[in-house]
Each structure stands twice: as structure tokens, then as C-alpha cells.
């Protein structure tokens, strides 16, 4: 396979693995956080407002790692700098 083919294969595979592995950790973390928050609300329903707000902020923090992985895989698929460089070399 030539260089262009290798770049395409590795980029596509890396994009898939990035989003697959990168969403594993945040999913486990978010599940734990929500479970803990629900049991806290069940124990202390009066504090539901504060718990919910903190939960949302925490979920956003956890989720941002998954979002980073998503952005990386989107970059690999749609605006891949190596692919653009290789095609520019071929064209020019």
C-alpha cells in the first residue's frame, strides 16, 4: 500500500478507537456520579436543588474528556492535516 492508503487506514482506525475507548471511561464515571447523586437525593430530598446543580456541573466536567476524544476523531476524519499534506504533495 502506498503512503496515502496507510494514512487513510490508520486515521480511520484511530478515529474509531479514539471515540470507542475515550467514551468508556466517562460513561463509567458518569454512571457512578448519577447513581451516587440519586441515592443522596433519596436520603435528603430537601437538598435536591444543590445536589442537582453540583451533579450537572460535575457531569459536564466528566463529559468534557469524552468531548475531547470526539473532537479528535472528527479532526482525524474530516480535516486530517496529514491527509491534506499528502494530497497536496501528490497534486503539487
Amino acid at each position: 500500500m502506498d503512503n496515502l492508503g496507510w494514512i487513510a487506514v490508520i486515521s480511520i482506525a484511530a478515529a474509531g478507537y479514539t471515540i470507542a475507548i475515550g467514551s468508556l471511561g466517562p460513561a463509567l464515571g458518569q454512571g457512578r456520579a448519577v447513581a451516587q447523586a440519586l441515592s443522596s437525593i433519596a436520603q435528603q430530598p430537601d437538598e435536591a436543588n444543590t445536589i442537582t446543580r453540583t451533579l450537572f456541573v460535575g457531569l459536564a466536567m466528566i463529559e468534557s474528556t469524552a468531548i475531547y476524544c470526539f473532537v479528535i476523531s472528527i479532526i482525524l476524519l474530516f480535516v486530517n492535516p496529514f491527509w491534506n499534506y499528502a494530497t497536496a504533495l501528490l497534486g503539487g
Binding site: N49, T50, R53, F56, V57, A60, M61, E63, S64, I67, Y68, F70, V71, I74, F78, V79
Partner: protein, 224 residues
């Protein structure tokens, strides 16, 4: 498929380019300004309120309550900044149900600009509250060894703010585009509804995080 509305260009004049991000940002600004001007033109303190005034009162009341709960301070100083962030992001995400609309928050330039506003506002509020010396001393807490980590944390949370909002909104439009080509019936509408929820939550999270950062910069540290 376009990743960013920056690439959709409507009009060029020499080096000036009018892309979809700028156009829709202007439209939202005009909508917000004209809308609130129309509502606040005739305010009433009677028992009967106009619908617009009722909406704005609920919005501002909720914002004030949230800010004072998070910051443990009077909300007046922070309401203009935090409120503007929330209302702008919420409007720009919620308008996604209008056909032909590209949310400007789906472009990294818009979200980076908003995050830089927070990055600049946090030290300003901190210095105004504590004074320059006390504010700068906060970076060397609890020990001076933490100084580089505090500075890195300041930068990385700005990056996280920008990328989080961008990633969420961009993924929403992207999923809608992918689903339209696979299952064009019904299913994209459900994802669109989910996108509205995500958009509102992201606006809330952006505003709350900005307030949390400001609150942590303005609170007085007690010497033990």
C-alpha cells in the same frame, strides 16, 4: 458536510468575509436587543403583566437566584455578565429548530471568544473584590509550589470551556446530518429534541462554571 459554519461564506468584499457564524451572531444580537427593547418599553407594576414581561421577569429572577446561591454574594455585580452569557448561548442553541439556521456556538471561534471573556473577567472581578496583591497571592496557595499548576489550571479550564460547548453543539448538528442520510423519517426529529435539551443544559453549564470560577476568585480566604 460542513464541520464549522465558518466555512459557509455568504459575501466577500476584499479581505472581508461574511460567514455564517458572524451573520447568525448578528441576527441573535439583533433579536435579543429588539426583543428586550419591545418588552421593556412599557413595563407595568400592576397585577396584570404582559406575556413578555412575565417571561423576562422569570428569567432574570431565576438567574439572580442561581448566582446568589453559587456565589454566596449579592447577584447584582455578576448578573450582567453571567446573564448575557446564558441568554446568548441559550438563544443560539435553541434557535436550532429554525430551518436553515446554523448555530454560531457550533464554531470554535465563537466559543473561544466566550471562553476568553470568562478568562478576562475572572481576574477583573477578583482584583475588584480583593485588591491586586491579595488576588495574586491566591495563586501561591496553599504553597508556592502550586503556582505553576494554578496557572496551568487557569488556562486549561478556559480551553475546556470552549471545546466543551463547541463539541456538544457541533456533534448535535453532525448527528442530525448523519441520521438524515440513514433514517430520514422521524428519527432525526427525536435527536433534534435531544439537541434542544443538550443546548439548554450546555448554556446553563457554561454560565454556572463561569460563576463558579468568579466565585472562587472573589471569595476571601480566611487565615487560620
Amino acid at each position: 458536510m460542513e464541520i464549522s459554519p465558518d466555512n459557509i461564506i455568504y459575501w466577500t468584499y476584499g479581505p472581508l468575509k461574511l460567514n455564517a457564524t458572524i451573520l447568525f451572531t448578528w441576527l441573535i444580537m439583533a433579536l435579543l436587543v429588539v426583543g428586550s427593547w419591545l418588552v421593556t418599553r412599557r413595563l407595568s407594576s400592576d397585577e396584570t403583566l404582559s406575556r413578555g414581561q412575565n417571561l423576562l421577569e422569570v428569567l432574570v429572577g431565576a438567574l439572580r437566584q442561581q448566582i446568589s446561591e453559587i456565589g454566596q454574594q449579592r447577584p447584582e455585580r455578576y448578573l450582567p455578565f453571567i446573564g448575557t452569557l446564558f441568554i446568548f448561548i441559550a438563544t443560539s442553541n435553541l434557535l436550532a429548530i429554525v430551518p436553515g439556521y446554523n448555530p454560531p456556538t457550533g464554531s470554535l471561534s465563537t466559543t473561544a471568544a466566550l471562553a476568553i471573556c470568562v478568562f478576562v473577567a475572572v481576574p477583573l472581578y477578583g482584583i475588584a473584590q480583593l485588591g491586586l496583591g491579595d488576588y495574586l497571592k491566591q495563586y501561591a496557595r496553599p504553597t508556592p509550589i502550586m503556582l505553576p499548576f494554578n496557572i496551568i489550571g487557569e488556562l486549561s479550564r478556559t480551553l475546556a470551556l470552549a471545546v466543551r460547548l463547541f463539541g456538544n453543539v457541533m456533534s448535535g448538528t453532525m448527528i442530525a446530518g448523519v441520521l438524515l442520510s440513514i433514517v430520514p423519517l422521524f428519527f432525526p426529529i427525536i435527536m433534534q429534541l435531544l439537541g434542544l435539551v443538550t443546548g439548554l443544559i450546555q448554556a446553563y453549564i457554561f454560565a454556572v462554571l463561569a460563576m463558579v470560577y468568579i466565585a472562587s476568585a472573589t471569595q476571601v480566604q480566611r487565615e487560620s
